[in-house]
Each structure stands twice: as structure tokens, then as C-alpha cells.
């Protein structure tokens, strides 16, 4: 199947599975898992061609004028991600279906639908070659994970965590978009393959620092690197199946994915690697600290995920040929054991309704198979032989020792890995084996659907450890080769001889066991450290959010203050500024005399009209004011009459009379005195604004009338209205013939106004009756 049809199948299939899943009986509820399994199978068939060095591409036009095509590309690295996404996606679907077995079928189908949408978005991200297309999918993962984290909408905690993750990842997404657009400006192409090929041009560009900073913000937010490391543990508010998916295979690794993709492009920029290693080490250390401090079962796992992401970012930043293999090996082993551990945690929490690790104990009696899977997975996490985690850790140390980095990096890595060993022990031994008898009975037992995921992943961790040749040539080598841009010789095996790495591994295990021994003491001691409590990125986040909301509230209070006069004043002043600017920049004012000598009749009428205006302004009686208004109205009718417009004059007379009648009819129902509603100061301000407004209108009108007049359109009407429309009155012809549709619209407006007035006044009568 082509890549585009795979993505289409994924998108349409998730909708279909959702609609079907709402109605199936409980016996068929696992039918939704067929979709990710089918997709997984599709990618399995791609292993063979990709492993032999091929690259699958697929392109369809989208916005060709902007150089944006739906371009997809499958190489070893994206294939590894695609297999993880669909493979773990299948297990998550099965697990989630069983996890929600007692929930409403609609609720369950909705959750699985979101998981599938999420999977589609991630697939699109790792398959895209065009960066703009990738960005669209990237944002889609942020949106779907927002919905997954906030799935239990009734929980405040879930809503807050969902919003936090959305703000952080979408904010980072904006930065990423900036980086993509800058790259596109510089190279004229959004294709990742083309950018990789033309990397020297990008590296030589003056925009490079901006590109790198924006890219790092985008990827660090997604992959929860310092200083954005706090949202991921909060995202544990999601139902556990979603956490397993979010934190194992996938979304958080997208940042790592993109960093690794750009590592080859920025190979010539030493600062890139330095930044990655620095931030990776920082993130690892902070997360290891927080892992010991955490109390919730899922929270500890989440902190260890952040630590793992830090390790990955550090590995990408390292130079030396081994680092790419180490990255791939770590991604794979971490996905296997972390998803399995989340599944086990979910089963334990689901069974007991207890989330605190401290309160769990002796669950092995009730959940024996889950306990077994947890032990297997945590052994891989601890990096003990013969698990795949051991090989990954050996590579980690080898990459570090080979790189040009100092011993500090190695020491930090040993410490963090020691904490990981302790965490592995804490999350498998404590809840399942220690504290026997703490839990007397469980609400839910194990079901096959809850076991298949953790069991399969945990067993794969052993199988790949014992028989690494199963994955070396067809997965790890092509993926590492795609990262490095050249084929890589991989000797991925358990026994490398007595190497320095083995010594480091031994140190890690000893350190980890010591930590495990004294876990409670460390937990308490770190929890009470003042410094740790002070440095709280989460609190800083809320301070920023509160500040933003506070500013918004203040501006709202200022702008939306409930004073109608101030609203009008704002509008009038803005209009003044815009129109004044246009008048000033539009050329010099032209106050020359034109249009003939002064005619006494119109001049007198104008003076009368202005007197009417002043009456309307000055009088505190509405009736007197109405007289003034009437003078202006009849005055303008006379002006029409004096300037060759009898039709207008007639209409104006009629309408003015109607206005007076309507207004009088209303005024008899209102108090006719209108006391001053403005303070003297406000009146002065308003008079000033109105005066400036008047001068602006005067300047504009005088300049306009001094210009020569283009009569072509008017001449056209004058020349054709009798010959084509058989009408002598040209104004009439224009209205009923040339602009007939306009007139229909006008009639409609009058009709609607009549209806509205009628409805308004009728409501009153109806209200009176009841």
C-alpha cells in the first residue's frame, strides 16, 4: 500500500471504528483493534525493502503554488517509529477496550477513536517529508493529546493538565512553525530530504541561530525537556491507556524524532550538540530527582520518562559514530518497557482504585500475571542482562565514552541510571510483592485484554535481548543508517567482552540497589529539601498564566467598562486617527474656491439648518430638540430642491414628516426632558472631538470638491436611460432598472425594519396580557 493510502486508511478507519464501536455487543468490542493491527501489518511489509537500503516515497499535490506537497517518505528511522506507533497502538487499543469494559459503549468508542486519531496524527508526523505537512500532523498530535489528557472532563485536575499541555505544546508548535518558515525562506524548499541534502547552505545562512533556537523550543516543549519538563507528569491525569501511549512509543518522542532528523543537518554546528547534551543532562538530573520525590505510581513512571527523554536528547547531541545506534536502541527498549509498565500500573490502579504507590502492596496474589510482566519490564528498565534494556544501556555508555565530552556527562548518566534501577525496583517490587496483605480484595481482576499488552511487550524485551539478530539488520541498522546518512555496522549483542561499559553498568546496578534499599529515606529527605520546593517550574507556569489572565481581565475592565459613551468615544477617536492619517498622507489639503459664486438661498438654508442643530444640542427638552432636527431635515430637502433634485426633495419631505410623526408618537410615551448626562469636562472633551471631526470632514470635502470630476458614469446613465430603458427621469431609471437589485435590497431592509419594530412593540403588548 502506498503511504498516502495507509494514512487515509488510518484516518477513515478510526472514524469507522468509532461509529461501529458505539453499537457492537461486548463480545465484539475488540473489533476496533483490527485497524492498528492492519496498519502494523502494512509497515511490516515495508521492512524488507527499507532494510535493503530503499526509501519509499509518495507524493500528491496540495498547494503547489507555495511549494507544499503532500510528500511522504519512509526510511529506516521513520519505519521504526511507524512500527512502534502502530504496534503499541494495537496493544493500547486492546488494553483500553478492556480497561473501559464496564464503561458505556459510547464512552469506550470515543476513547478508542481519540487513540486512533492520535495514532494517525503521529503516523503522519513521522512519515511526512514536507515540513509544513509534518507541522499540520504535529499540531494534530497536540490537539488529540489535549482531548486524551482531558478525557475525564468532570475532573478539574484533568482539565487543567490538558490545558497546560495544550498551551505548552502548541506554543512550542508556533516556534517550530517559525523555524520551518525560516528554513523555507532560506532554501526555498520544505522537503526534509532536500534540506538534508543542502545542509551546508542552511548552516551558512545568517538565519541559522534563529532557526536553531525556534526548533529547539518546538522540540523541547514536545519532548518535555527542561525548562518545559513539568507538563508531562501532570498529563498523568489522562486515563492510563492514554498515558501508556503518550509516554512510551510516541508523542513525547516526536520532539526527539525531529531533533534526531536535524542532527544530521546541523552536524557542522557544534553548538547544536552542546546545547542538546547540556539540556539533556539537566533534564535527566531534574527528572531523576523528581522521580525519587514523587508519590503516585504513574507519577514516578512519568518522571522516569522525562529522564529517558533527557537521555535521548543527550545521546543525539553526542558526537561519535555510536550515538545514533544508542539513540535507536534506547528508543526501542524504552518504548517496550515503559508501555508495559504503564499497562501494569493501570491494571493495579484500576483494580484497587489507589494511585499512591505507598498504599499499594502484595498485589501479586491478586494480579499474578501483571506482576510477572511488571518484573520483566522493570528488569529491562533497570538494564540487566539478558534484556534489551541492558544492550541499550551499554550503547549509551559507549557513546558517551567515545564522544569528546568530559567525565561529568558520564557521572550524571551513571547517577541517573542508578535512579532508574531504583525506580524500576520501586514500581515492580513494592506494589506487587512487598507489603503483603495491604490490599485485601480488588475491584477488578486481570482479564486477557489487560494482560496481552504488558505480557507481549515484556516478553519482547527478553526476546530481543537474547536474540538481537531478530532486529539488528532489519530495524536498528537501517534506522541508525537513516540518521547518520550512511550505512552503519551494528554489533547489537549482549556480550561485548570485559569493557569499560560493563564496569559502568555494574556501578549503576550497585548504586540502584543501594538506592532501592534506602528508598524511603531518600524519598523523605528529598521531599523536604527547601531548594527543591522552591524551584518549581509548574508554579512558574501558573504564575505566567495568572499574569496573562490578569492582564486580560484588566484590559477587559478598561475597554468593556459598561459606559456606552466611552465605547462611542473610542470608536470616534479611532476613526479620527485613521481618517486624519489618510487625509494627511493623501496629499496637501486643497481649500480653493470652486462651484460658482455664493448663492443666497442655499446659504441661508444652511445657516438655518445649523441653527436647528444647535437647538437640538442645547435644549434639554426632547420636543424642542425634535424641532431642531426637523429644521435640519426640511432644510436638506430644500437644498435638494435648490440643486436640481426634486425627487430627493419630495422623498426627504415625506420621510422627514414621517420621522417627526413617529418620534412625536414615541415622545408622548417618554419623559420629554433630557437632563444633562455628561459632566462639564466630558462635554468639553466631546465638543472637542466633534469639532475636530467637523474640521476633518470639512477639509476632506473641500479637497474632494476642488478636484476635477469624472463624469463618465453619470454621462453613461444620461445617454442610455431613454434609449435602453425608455425612461425620461434618469434618477428613476437608475433606481428601478440599472440598480433594481439594490432597490429590492432596500425594500427588504425597510420590510425587515418594519417587522422588527412590530415584534418589539408587540412583545410589550403580549407581556401586558399575561
Amino acid at each position: 500500500m502506498s503511504l498516502i493510502s495507509i494514512l487515509l486508511l488510518s484516518a477513515l478507519g478510526s472514524v469507522a471504528a468509532w461509529r461501529v464501536g458505539r453499537h457492537v455487543s461486548s463480545g465484539l468490542k475488540h473489533v476496533a483493534a483490527l485497524l492498528p493491527i492492519a496498519l502494523f501489518a502494512c509497515f511490516i511489509f515495508h521492512i524488507e525493502p527499507v532494510a535493503s537500503g530503499g526509501v519509499v516515497t509518495d507524493t500528491a499535490a496540495w498547494v503547489p503554488s507555495l511549494g507544499i506537497d503532500l510528500a511522504f517518505r519512509l526510511d529506516g528511522f521513520s519505519l521504526l517509529f511507524a512500527l512502534l506507533i502502530t504496534g503499541i497502538g494495537s496493544l493500547v487499543t486492546i488494553y483500553a477496550t478492556s480497561y473501559f469494559s464496564e464503561a458505556d459503549a459510547r464512552e469506550r468508542a470515543r476513547f478508542v477513536f481519540l487513540i486512533h486519531l492520535f495514532m494517525t496524527a503521529m503516523l503522519g508526523t513521522v512519515l511526512s517529508d514536507n515540513l509544513i505537512v509534518m507541522f499540520v500532523f504535529w499540531e494534530a498530535t497536540s490537539l488529540t493529546s489535549f482531548m486524551l489528557i482531558g478525557f475525564e472532563t468532570a475532573k478539574t485536575e484533568a482539565r487543567r493538565a490538558a490545558l497546560q499541555s495544550l498551551l505548552i505544546t502548541c506554543g512550542g508548535g508556533l516556534a517550530l512553525l517559525g523555524a520551518i518558515l525560516l528554513i523555507g525562506m532560506e532554501l526555498g524548499s520544505f522537503s526534509l530530504a532536500a534540506i538534508t541534502a543542502r545542509a551546508p547552505e542552511l548552516v551558512a545562512s545568517p538565519l541559522l541561530p534563529a532557526v536553531i533556537v525556534l526548533l529547539l523550543i518546538g522540540t523541547f516543549t514536545k519532548s518535555a525537556q527542561f525548562p518545559f519538563h513539568f507538563w508531562l507528569p501532570k498529563a498523568m491525569a489522562a486515563p492510563t491507556p492514554a498515558s501508556a501511549y503518550l509516554h512510551s512509543a510516541t508523542m513525547v518522542k516526536l520532539g526527539v524524532y525531529l531533533l534526531a532528523r536535524f542532527d544530521g543537518i546541523f552536524a557542522g554546528v557544534p553548538a547544536y550538540g552542546v546545547i542538546l547534551v547540556t539540556f539533556g543532562l539537566l533534564t535527566m538530573s531534574i527528572a531523576a530527582f523528581n522521580a525519587i520525590r514523587a508519590t503516585g505510581y504513574k507519577a514516578i513512571l512519568a518522571q522516569s520518562t522525562v529522564a529517558s527523554l533527557g537521555i535521548l536528547v543527550m545521546l543525539i547531541g553526542l558526537d561519535g559514530p555510536v550515538s545514533s545506534v544508542a539513540v535507536i536502541g534506547f528508543i526501542l527498549s524504552h518504548a517496550l518497557y515503559k508501555a508495559a509498565l504503564f499497562f501494569c500500573a493501570g491494571t493495579a490502579i484500576h483494580a484497587t482504585h489507589i494511585t499512591e504507590l505507598r498504599k499499594l502492596g502484595g498485589l501479586a496474589k491478586h494480579l499474578p500475571f501483571t506482576a510477572a510482566a511488571a518484573v520483566l519490564a522493570s528488569l529491562s528498565m533497570a538494564g540487566l542482562p539478558p534484556f534489551v534494556g541492558f544492550i541499550a544501556k551499554e550503547y549509551l555508555f559507549e557513546a558517551q565514552l567515545q564522544s569528546s565530552w568530559s567525565a561529568i556527562a558520564v557521572i550524571v548518566a551513571v547517577l541517573v541510571n542508578g535512579v532508574m534501577v531504583a525506580v524500576a525496583g520501586a514500581v515492580s517490587l513494592r506494589p506487587f510483592f512487598r507489603g503483603r496483605g495491604k490490599i485485601e480484595h480488588v475491584h477488578h481482576g486481570e482479564t486477557p485484554g489487560l494482560l496481552i499488552g504488558p505480557m507481549l511487550l515484556a516478553i519482547l524485551g527478553v526476546v530481543f535481548g537474547i536474540a538481537p539478530h531478530l532486529i539488528v539488520d532489519n530495524l536498528i541498522a537501517p534506522a541508525a543508517g537513516a540518521l547518520r546518512g550512511s550505512p552503519v555496522q551494528v554489533s547489537f549483542s549482549l556480550w561485548h567482552g570485559l569493557t569499560p561499559m560493563l564496569g559502568l553498568s555494574a556501578a549503576v546496578v550497585i548504586l540502584g540497589i543501594a538506592l532501592m534499599w534506602k528508598w524511603n529515606e531518600f524519598h523523605r529527605a528529598i521531599g523536604q529539601m527547601r531548594l527543591v520546593q522552591k524551584i518549581d517550574a509548574d508554579r512558574a507556569y501558573y504564575r505566567v498564566v495568572d499574569r496573562v489572565l490578569g492582564t486580560a481581565r484588566a484590559t477587559t475592565r478598561w475597554l468593556q467598562n459598561g459606559d456606552q459613551r466611552r465605547y462611542t468615544l473610542t470608536v470616534a477617536s479611532s476613526l479620527l486617527i485613521v481618517a486624519g492619517y489618510a487625509l494627511v498622507t493623501g496629499g496637501p489639503l486643497n481649500l480653493t474656491w470652486s462651484g460658482g459664486e455664493i448663492l443666497p438661498f442655499p446659504a441661508i438654508i444652511l445657516i438655518l439648518a445649523i441653527v436647528g442643530c444647535v437647538v437640538a444640542i442645547r435644549s434639554t427638552s426632547l420636543v424642542t430638540g425634535l424641532v431642531g432636527i426637523g429644521i435640519v431635515g426640511y432644510g436638506s430637502a430644500l437644498l435638494f430642491l435648490a440643486n436640481g433634485a426634486p425627487d430627493l426633495a419630495l422623498t426627504q419631505f415625506a420621510v422627514e414628516t414621517l420621522v417627526l410623526v413617529v418620534l412625536m408618537a414615541v415622545l408622548v410615551r417618554l419623559p420629554t426632558d433630557a437632563p444633562k448626562t455628561r459632566s462639564p469636562r466630558e462635554s468639553r472633551i466631546d465638543a472637542g472631538i466633534a469639532t475636530i471631526f467637523g474640521f476633518l470632514v470639512f477639509g476632506g470635502l473641500a479637497t474632494m470638491t476642488a478636484q476635477p470630476f469624472d463624469t463618465r458614469l453619470s454621462d453613461f446613465y444620461g445617454a442610455t436611460s431613454y434609449l435602453e430603458a425608455r425612461g425620461h427621469n434618469v434618477v428613476n431609471v437608475i433606481i428601478v432598472d440599472y440598480r433594481a437589485f439594490d432597490t429590492v435590497g432596500e425594500v427588504a431592509v425597510v420590510a425587515f425594519a418594519t417587522l422588527a419594530v412590530w415584534a418589539l412593540l408587540k412583545r410589550r403588548r403580549a407581556g401586558k396580557g399575561s
Partner: protein, 126 residues
Amino acid sequence: MNLIYSAGFAAIMACGVYLLLSRHVMRIVYGVILISASVNLVLFLSGRIGPNPPPVIPSGETVLSAGAANPLPQALVLTAIVIGFSLVAFAVALALQTFRTIGTLDSRKLNQAEALGSPYEEGKSQ
């Protein structure tokens, strides 16, 4: 003559703006009436005006004579007059209804919407 017309129309406009800034609903309506009267005159003026014969083709002829008034702005203003009237009628009906239900035409007291509070404050959860 153009300057006199310009000044006169601008003065009417300025008075309308002043009334529009009032806090009394009926005076605001008066402001709207003045502004729309002035706008009609401005539109009329923009086609150049003078003591010309109306734009009517005398019987027996087929083309409008050169000295006649400009018909196009007249057609536009004719539409505008009627629309302006609809607007005023609707505004006045609103004012009347407002007075009947709330008992005042002072816009400072017409703040029931603000009294409900900001919709953005409500969802705030700490």
C-alpha cells in the same frame, strides 16, 4: 460655493457626533439622524451640485442635456434616505421598548449585561 457647502455639512456632522456621544438614548438617536442627514448631503455634494435643471430627459429628446444635474448621486441618496428612515424607526422602537422595560433612557443605568459579570471570570478555577 463648495467651501460653504463643505463647512455647513461638516458642521451638521460635528453636531451629530456630539449628540452621538451623549448618554441619553434619545439624544443618541438624534445624533444618528443628524449624521445620516449630513452623510446624504455629503454624498449629494460629491457628485458636484449647483442650480441646475433636474436630470430629466425632455420629451422628444433621447439623451440627457449637458447642463442637467448629476443623476447618479441622487439615485444613491434616494436609497440612503429610505434606509436611514428604517434605521431611525428601529432605533426609536428600541428606545421605547427599553424605557418601557427598564424605566430609564440613561445609558449609565442600562448596564444589566455588565452586571452579570464577565463570562471569562466564571470558568476560572484555582
